[in-house]
């Protein structure tokens, strides 16, 4: 539980990237937390805890089997992030909305890659988490940059 508390931000970010609805996000958050809690006895310490948590969180979000609530999906700044009110400004708000909308326009695994990139992870660590060769990741990142540029220009 202490480990989860320390790495709570990772879990929240993954939930925000993969679920639009607050209730779906909470379900995903609970599911990831449960998976981390369940897998904890098997953690041997051969990778960093954060790498291990990223793996579980992304695996749960991408490969996990969840039933959606089946309600209308809301797209908007109000329900996509949790920046404290005092830090909000109109321009920043607009930018963040654009950012989330653009990232959500990517495929599921591209979203994971962008997230790790924004988290300042090295390509070596990205390879460890995603299981894809560094060269392939670099090529894909170039394509994602191009894609995001187009998406944010629309």
């Amino acid at each position: 539980m202490k480990v989860l508390g320390t790495h709570k931000a990772i879990l929240h970010k993954v939930c925000h990237l993969y679920e639009h609805l607050a209730s779906d996000r909470e379900d995903l958050f609970q599911e990831i937390t449960y998976q981390v809690w369940k897998a904890w006895p098997r953690f041997r310490g051969d990778s960093r805890i954060s790498t291990w948590i990223y793996r579980i969180a992304l695996n749960t979000a991408i490969t996990g089997w969840r039933r959606k609530k089946g309600r209308i999906r809301l797209m908007g700044v109000d329900n996509i992030h949790d920046v404290p009110a005092e830090e909000m400004d109109t321009e920043g708000e607009e930018r963040r909305k654009k950012m989330y909308d653009a990232i959500r326009g990517l495929s599921e695994w591209e979203r994971a890659l962008v997230m790790l990139y924004l988290e300042d992870k090295s390509y070596e660590e990205m390879e460890e988490i995603l299981g894809v060769a560094q060269n392939t990741l670099r090529v894909r990142m170039t394509r994602i940059r191009e894609k995001l540029r187009k998406l944010t220009q629309i």
Binding site: Q30, R55, E110, G131
Partner: protein, 216 residues
């Protein structure tokens, strides 16, 4: 907007939301509603029901009716053995679907492989049960009921030569097998199809660059 410009905004999104979420989990550990966990629970219920009912039925037919209906207890025993294999494989599959360790690529490959082999097993085992049950009922009727209607096309009589009976059996078994196969395939597709297709398309997307870079 450039990707690098997003970094500063990204850093500001933090864990300010719902600080009690993790503590709350403590009380919900066994109560998280995921389809996999629900299927595990259902499988456990099915197994308990089998363990309670099958031994009773087997014992009753084996020792009851002065041993006249012992064949039924052999049949239920066979079904029980098939169910044990089904339980073992399904339990293994659901556990593997719950395993979230390993890299995303490996997890995808592992889950697709497990689901694929389980769906194949489910399809063929489920389909085979139709003709096996038919054959067993036919054999039991022929053995236990001496006064079968001579017009019944499934049993040899003065009116039904062997060739006609064999053809009637082949036709009905093929018909039942095809219908059971189609229904089974539809049911399996409904249960697992959407999920496995989603996993396949993510894996294909991940392997796109590797495919492009392959020498032709």
């Amino acid at each position: 907007m450039e990707l690098d410009e997003m970094r500063s905004d990204w850093k500001r999104i933090s864990a300010t939301a719902d600080p009690d979420a993790i503590q709350r989990l403590d009380t919900r550990k066994g109560n998280i509603h995921s389809p996999v966990r629900r299927m595990l629970r259902n499988l456990r219920i099915e197994t308990i029901l089998m363990l309670v009912t099958y031994p009773i039925i087997t014992i009753v037919y084996f020792f009851g009716f002065r041993g006249y209906m012992q064949e039924i207890s052999w049949f239920t025993l066979t079904i029980g053995i098939i169910f044990s294999i089904y339980y073992y494989r399904k339990n293994k599959l659901l556990r593997s679907l719950e395993d979230m360790g390993g890299s995303v690529h490996d997890a995808l490959e592992g889950k697709i492989h497990s689901l694929d082999s389980f769906m194949r097993f489910y399809l063929w085992a489920g389909t085979a049960l139709g003709p096996i049950t038919m054959g067993f009922i036919g054999w039991l009727t022929w053995k236990k009921l001496p006064d079968i209607d001579p017009h019944n096309p499934f049993f040899v009589s003065t009116e039904n030569p062997l060739v006609k009976v064999v053809l009637a059996w082949i036709f009905s078994v093929v018909l039942v097998t095809v219908v059971v196969f189609i229904l089974n395939k539809w049911y399996i597709q409904m249960l697992y199809g959407k999920h496995i297709n989603k996993l396949r398309s993510i894996l294909e997307d991940m392997q796109e660059e590797e495919r492009i870079n392959l020498p032709s």
